[in-house]
Amino acid sequence: MELFINQVLAGIATGAIYACMALAVVMIYQAIDHLNFAQGEMAMFSTFIAWQLMQWGVPYWWAFLLTLAFSFAGGIAIERMLFKPLAKAPVLTNVAGFIALFAIVNSVAGLTWDFTIKQFPTPFGSSPFLGSQLISTHQAGMIGVTVGLLILLYLFFQFTRIGLAMRAAASLPESARLVGINTSWMIALGWGMASAIGAIAGILIAPVVFLEPNMMGGVLIYGFAAAVLGGLTSPLGAVIGGFLVGVFENLAGTYIPGVGNELKLPIALALIITVLVLKPAGLFGRPIVKRV
């Protein structure tokens, strides 16, 4: 029983990271109808920025905040320079843009900070959480920060004017323009926020997977899986999907004989395919019905 609880809690902790990545992916998907393949690399780059700041002697939480600000601005800059001009381009052009972004960010990070694995500090420590062997303080911190972030995002989208405008722009761009919303900047803002959310995910997971240019590869695949599982049209679904994938991945690795660490990923993806066969819009997504 203790093993079970331990695995569930550990799953929730990594699931929190998947949830953040899934949320970042969904935010951009809602805004421009494309999956950002470079979301993980952007998060990795942000994490390197945080690491570099700390190397220069900036205290952890200052580095954290500065990195968020940098990522936010960087996300907006990427949208303005690369994807705004592609807004009316065909899907494949956009896909090529994302792949280019992926490759560029990955190589620039490798060139600047090389490919050796680096330790990344945790502000929470790694001792047992509240004296319990079930979960470490860093895992508890991951869950805490993510839940706090999700609450803030919920409040932002439900109760602020700009949150309302962003939701309107994502759901019906033409109507949004007709009430005077500058939808183009709402998209840019979505990119900025997605980039900052990714940065949080990167910084939180780096002490676990260690810092290197390819650190987010696996994480992003789980993030995509979580987003698709929850439904790409539902931010809440993406978050729940993240936690589900994290827990399922851990339980499968522990309890299904012969799975272990290597087969965790295929098992998780198989589950997702099963769900999608039964419910193509994802667990919480709304099927898109077009009037003809």
């Binding site: 007709l178 009430v179 005077g180 919303i181």
Partner: protein, 237 residues
């Protein structure tokens, strides 16, 4: 009397296809004007051209200022509310959020709250359903919501694209009565595009008839209603 909206030689294009062929007309401040025409005559395109939602050439002036080159949202910010065909309801949001979105460009919080209450007086059914998802409203209720959302902008000019479309005759009468009231009491200039010529002519004080992208007739609503050709083509008697 200077016109509030002045349109000269408007031509609009969808890709290579030209939809408007040099259309000119004007709206007087405080008037309620209707633009009549058959399917495909260019009524919707005219409204979309005013808000720069379609590629067009020619001159459109609102209160003496040219609108060309302005983005849709900046045209709206000048006080031009557009109720699009199909109503443009934010179906996944609540009725109240839809109204708040109508006022999203305004900074007077108190005024917005008061205006939402005013809309609930105009349209009591919206008050009953204010926490409901707008997509669950009936067609007539959604049209009321679309008009209310447009009014939340406190527009100087309101453009309505076939507000009667798909509504029961009784609901259409009610809606048109409210439009007349808004025009008189709130001093909102209204341009309404309609296929339902009879009702539109009862409501309006001025009318234009549009055919294949050109204005072919203009006059007071009464004159147009009594015109032989209009009666045959649009009123059916």
């Amino acid at each position: 009397m200077t016109a509030m909206l002045n349109i000269k030689d408007l031509r609009a294009y969808y890709g290579q296809v030209q939809a408007l062929h040099g259309l000119s007309f004007s709206l007087n401040e405080g008037s309620l004007t209707t633009l009549l025409g058959a399917n495909g005559a260019g009524k919707t395109t005219t409204l979309r051209a005013i808000c720069n939602m379609v590629r067009s050439t020619g001159a459109i002036e609102f209160e003496g200022k040219p609108l060309s080159g302005k983005s849709t949202e900046n045209v709206v910010r000048l006080g031009i509310a557009h109720v699009p065909q199909g109503r443009g309801t934010f179906t996944t949001m609540t009725v109240e959020e839809n109204l708040q979105l109508g006022a999203i460009t305004r900074n007077d919080k108190k005024g917005v709250v008061a205006d939402i209450e005013r809309m609930y007086e105009h349209f009591p059914v919206l008050k009953e359903r204010h926490t409901q998802q707008a997509g669950t409203l009936s067609g007539g209720e959604q049209q009321m919501l679309a008009v209310a959302r447009a009014l939340m902008l406190r527009p100087r000019l309101m453009l309505l694209d076939e507000p009667s479309f798909g509504l029961a005759p009784l609901i259409v009468r009610e809606l048109f009565k409210i439009l007349g009231k808004i025009n008189r009491e709130d001093k909102v200039t209204i341009l309404v595009v309609e296929q339902n010529a009879q009702l539109a002519l009862e409501l309006a004080d001025k009318a234009y008839v549009i055919e294949t992208g050109r204005i072919v007739m203009s006059g007071s609503a009464a004159e147009i209603a009594n015109n032989e050709d209009v009666r045959k083509s649009y009123l059916g008697y």
